[in-house]
Every structure is written in C-alpha cells, then in structure tokens.
C-alpha cells in the first residue's frame, strides 16, 4: 500500500490531475471495485485494461458521476467531486453500447449538450464545424442515426463527446463491435485527436493489443483491483505478476513450474520436460529474489524458437502438435509428455505435425515469477540503455 501513499503525495503538485482515492463500489454482496487508487495525469491518454467483468465500466461510471462510490473520494484537480452529479462534472463518455440518440439526427445529437448548456448559437455552429472536420463527418450532419454505418456512428459519438470540451473524455470499449480494419483506423484517429486536442482521456478496453497500440500509460485491472499501472511497454516487459504476463502480449506466454539447482559448478533449471543449463548472473539474480528453489519461468512465444538440431542443455525435445499461420510467422504448439509450449517462428522455417524438434530458450528474455504468489522476481531489460531496474518500483505496483 506504500505505492498508493506516494501516489497521493504527488497529487498536491499536479493539481489538474484526476484521482480516485480508495474508491470502492459494492453491488449488494459483490465488490465491483475494491479500494482503487488511481491518478490520471492531466492531458494523458490512460488506457484501463482488464478482462471482462473486472470493473472497468464501473470505474468509469464512478468518474463520470453515474454511480456513487460506496467508499472513498474522487478529485478533479483539488476539487472533491465525489458527490457532484453527472450533469455537473463536464465529463464526456462514449459508451460500450448505444452512444447516440436514435430520435435525433447527427447534428442534433452532436449539439444536444451545448443546447442544454445554453451555449450561444454562433459558438455552437463554430464548434460543430470544427469537430465535424476533425472527425471527417461533415457530410453526414443531417442524416438520421439509423442511416449511418457502425464506424460512422462511432465517429459521430466521438464528435458528440468532444464538442462540449470535456474536462475528462472517457471511451468505454468504443470499437468492440467494429471489424478489425475499422478498429485499427479509429484507434489511429483517437491518438491523433488526443494529440491535437490535448484532453485528458480514459480509454477502456479488454483488448491488450488495442491498449498497447494507443496508450501513454496502462492501468491494468483484475477483479476490481488495480494490478499494475505504468507505461505500455513496461507492462509488457516487466509484468508485475504471472497473470499480467499471460494477459498482456501478442501470444499467451509459456509458464513453467521449475526448480533451481546447481550441479557441481553449473547452475541449472529443472523443467517438467528436462534440465536446462543457465548462466550464473541470471541464476544468481533469480535465486536472490526467490523465496524458495521452486519458481515459475515465463517464456514468451515470440522470443522462443524451434530447431531441428538439439543444443543439449539449452533446448527441450518436443513434438509438433498444431500450427497457426500469422502471415510472415507461424505459431506452433509443441508438446512433451506432460507440458504444451508455444513458439513463434519465421514462416521460412517449416515443420510438420509429429516432427520431433527442439524448443529453444532465450534466457535474455525470460521472466521469473514467485511460484506461490506469482509476483515478478526478475525481468531482463529488453531496451538498450534502460538498464536493469528493480521491477516492482518500475512497474509501480499498488
């Protein structure tokens, strides 16, 4: 909990930031959000990422004022807005499902909030023109909502959210119902709009790829709790727990229960599929951090390889099981008697089902976790010059 305290101490200096302080939301017996401490830095694009049902929408409802927290406070800058109703918070939301009024046309939809706020007509028109140009929807302004495609609707919804110059702009899985192509395009738009408008943005998604592609920072949630908060790449490189490692990444990470040991002078790792030799420096770091000899080894498929020839002590003998083409790469599932592993290899390398091959490990990219708590023990630095950091501090675990 000390991380949360430092979080709170910083707040005084950045008084435009938006904060959830010990925020809790209970529905009957169910704790949808558990003592959440989260600070959204002024003008950043923060992505809230987490699996379905982890409390993302509930969190944004707390921020928008659509739900009252059962405990804790919410601050916009220095102002405590915990009890301020939604209509007075100046927050815009693009919702998960319906985001427009079906009985109004595009222009009426976009201007509804300004009309309610009695913004002068000429200002309304100017904002409408600017926003429509920003989103490229000038041509649709007089259309009815049901005459728009899904992508156009989302553009209108974003325009509608932006036109009132919100203090905080929240998007709740706005693109989940769109096709992959359109999703990529609109993600790009979001990043561009964020750069142009410099609004504080909260983007909610359960898609880790989407999160990695747009975020300044990612707040990762699980079962109502903040698991990790930090720059997008940090979460990939230094996942706070084995759960984070398996949730974030292009392919699901291989997690092996292994045992550390030393044979004579040679340190080794005993896996269920055989013994692997390991270099002394890495071994020492892991052993220092670990509370027992049993640890969890995380091997990302994108850093693992397959080869026909064995390198004794540095690869595991496996059998090719399934194959999935990913364009210029192929994802293989390989197995031994008791485990299944995944590896991504260039499409130029070709293996058949049932081939006996060798699963190659790249120790410089291996992640190490505590076998009981799942906490990160050691992660190498993947980027040049970043140096090896204490993972917990870097990841800002709460």
């Amino acid at each position: 909990m000390s991380a949360a305290m430092t979080n709170r101490d910083q707040l005084a200096t950045h008084n435009q930031n938006i904060r959830l302080v010990d925020a809790q939301k209970r529905f009957g017996n169910h704790l949808a959000v558990k003592n959440l401490n989260l600070e959204i830095i002024d003008r950043e694009l923060l992505v809230v990422l987490g699996p379905s049902g982890c409390g993302k929408s509930t969190t944004l409802n707390l921020l928008a004022g659509l739900e009252r927290p059962t405990n804790g406070q919410i601050y916009f800058g220095n102002e405590d807005v915990t009890k301020v109703p939604a209509e007075e918070r100046n927050v815009s939301v693009v919702f998960q499902s319906i985001t427009l009024y079906p009985h109004k046309n595009v222009q009426e939809n976009i201007l509804f909030a300004l009309k309610l706020a009695k913004v002068p007509r000429d200002v309304q028109e100017q904002r409408l023109r600017e926003t429509a140009r920003l989103l490229g929807i000038d041509r649709y302004l007089s259309r009815r909502i049901h005459q728009l495609s899904g992508g156009e609707r989302q553009r209108v919804a974003i325009a509608k959210a932006l036109v009132k110059r919100p203090r905080l702009f929240i998007l709740d899985e706005p693109f989940s119902s769109l096709d992959a192509e359109l999703r990529r395009e609109l993600r790009g738009e979001i990043v561009r709009i964020h750069r142009e408008l410099q609004t504080t943005m909260l983007f909610v998604t359960h898609d880790q790829e989407e999160a990695l592609s747009i975020a300044d920072r990612i707040a990762l949630m699980k079962q109502g709790e903040l698991v990790q908060l930090g720059p997008a790449l940090d979460i990939y490189e230094k996942p706070a727990t084995s759960w984070v490692a398996s949730f974030v990444g292009p392919h699901r990470i291989n997690l092996l229960d292994v045992e550390l040991g030393v044979d004579g002078d040679q340190p080794y790792v005993q896996t269920p599929a055989g013994r692997l030799l390991i270099e002394r420096p890495i071994f020492n770091r892991v052993q220092q951090a670990a509370s027992s000899q049993r640890v969890m080894l995380g091997l990302r498929p994108e850093f693992s390889g397959l080869s026909a020839s064995a390198t004794p002590g540095h690869s595991l003998p496996v059998e090719v099981y399934t194959r999935q083409h990913l364009g210029n790469e192929v994802l293989y599932h390989v197995k031994t008697d008791n485990i299944t592993l995944r590896a991504v290899v260039p499409a130029t390398q070709h293996f058949q089902f049932g081939d006996l091959v060798n699963f190659e490990i790249s120790w410089n990219q291996a992640l190490w976790f505590d076998s009981t708590s799942g906490q990160l023990l050691h992660a190498p630095s993947l980027r040049d010059g970043a140096g090896e950091q204490q993972p917990k501090a870097a990841a800002g675990i709460v």
């Binding site: 109703p85 209509e87 319906i98 985001t99 009024y101 909030a113």
Partner: protein
Amino acid sequence: MRSPARTIVIYAGVALLVAWTLVPIYWLINMSLSHQAEIVQAHFIPDHPTLCNYVRIFSDTYPCKALDGSPYPAIGQATAVRQGLINSLIIAVIVTILTMAVSVPAAYAIGRLTFEGKGKLLLTIVMSRSYPPIAILIPFFSMYQKLQIQGTILGLIIIYLTLTIPLVVWILSGFFSSLPRSLERLARVDGCTPFQALYRVLIRVAMPGVTACAVIAFLTCWNEFTFALMLTPGSSAQTFPPALAAMFTNVSYPNENAAAALLALIPVMILAYLFQSRIRGLNLVDPL
C-alpha cells in the same frame, strides 16, 4: 434472386389476405351507397349510387329522393346514432388522455427503476386484466346505482380506465425496459438532470410505443360494447356501439346500418393513417 413462380405465390397470398380483410368493408361501402329499394338484388356496384343513407343519419329533413322520386325515408334511430358518435368520441379522447397521463410515469417506473415489490406490482396490474371484464360488471353496476352515475359519461370513463391503464402500463413498461440502459446515462453526461433525461430523451425515444399505446387506449373505448350496453342504453350517455346494435334490431334497412357502421370506421382510419409511420417504428428492439 426469387424465381417468378415464388413471386407469383407470394403475391397471390398477399392478394388473398387483402381480400379477406377488405371484402366485408367493400360490401359495407357498396350497401351504404345503394338505395333501400335496391337491397334485395345484390349488385357489385350500385346501379344508382346515393349518399342519402349518410345524409339521413345527420338530418331527417334534408331533401333527398328515393328511386321512385318520393322523399327518402327518415331513420328511426338517427338521433341515437348521432349522439352515440359524439359520446364515444368524448369518452375515448378523455380516457386516452387520462390513461397516458397515468401510464407513462407508471410504466417508466416499472420498466426502468428498481424498487421493492416491483414484480408483484406488475403482476397485480396484469392480473387485473386476466378475468373477463363482464365479471366485474355486477359490482360496478350496484356501485354506480348507489353513486347515481349509471348512465353517465363519467361512469363509463371510470370503468374504461380500469381496462386501458393496466393494458397500457403493461405494454409500455416492457417497451421502456427494452430501451438501452445507457440512454439515460448518455443524457446525464450531456447535462440532463434525471427528470430532464426522462422527458427530453427517454420519452422521445419511446414515442412509437407511447403513440401505439394511445391508439390502443382510444380504440379500446371506441369499440367497447359490453359495458356500454349494460350501463348506458336509454340514457344521454349511450355510446355508438349500443346505438348501432339498437339500429340493427329496430330498423329493417341494412343500407342505413352500413352507413352508420362506416361512420364509426372513420376515426379509426384517420388514426391508422396519421400514426402508421410512427407505429411502424415500433419494431425497435435495437433503436439504432
């Protein structure tokens, strides 16, 4: 691509359905435009079309000639029919307005809010429509006698409200609850207070359903026969359906009955015409 044979089958089916619905009406029109003397031989189109049957409902004296040149005979029940049309219209309009005023907020509360005993409340409302209306006629009759409101417009309005409100609350609450939850939330972040969210957004979106329900309430009153027959005959509050029934039994010429029946269809047709586009919007499961 549809094959021609299939298209033909579909059109034939549609034609049959249309005929099924419209032939009786066509026959009614045919009769209402024929002279009384012509009624014995059936013609598909009147040989000597005349509006006299309609005229006689509104006036006994307006110059109108029968086929033999004599003045067109007066209709015995014309006054009752005329009065019935006016009473029906007054009652239907008042009941519709009161029904909607009560039902829209009630349906909103049941359809969109959560509160203790909501399910039981809705069940009670629906149950009140589950028995045949005639079953409550006796208690109403004796109560009305005590209160001296049998044979009054007020009495009918009260009893019709017991028919329309449960029905409309039931339909509308289902309609409200089918609208997306995020609709009010969107309205709230746009700056609406909870009350504004209801009347500036939710009711507007629910308009097709609200309109359809108003039409249903209107037609329920307009067509209601049983209560009207038991409570109003002989009084100044008699509505159109019992007046028409009395005409059947008292007057020998079907042409006049046909004309009167068609007059009763006119408000229905106007309603259908005015609201067809709005009610068509009712297939609005996903409003977008």
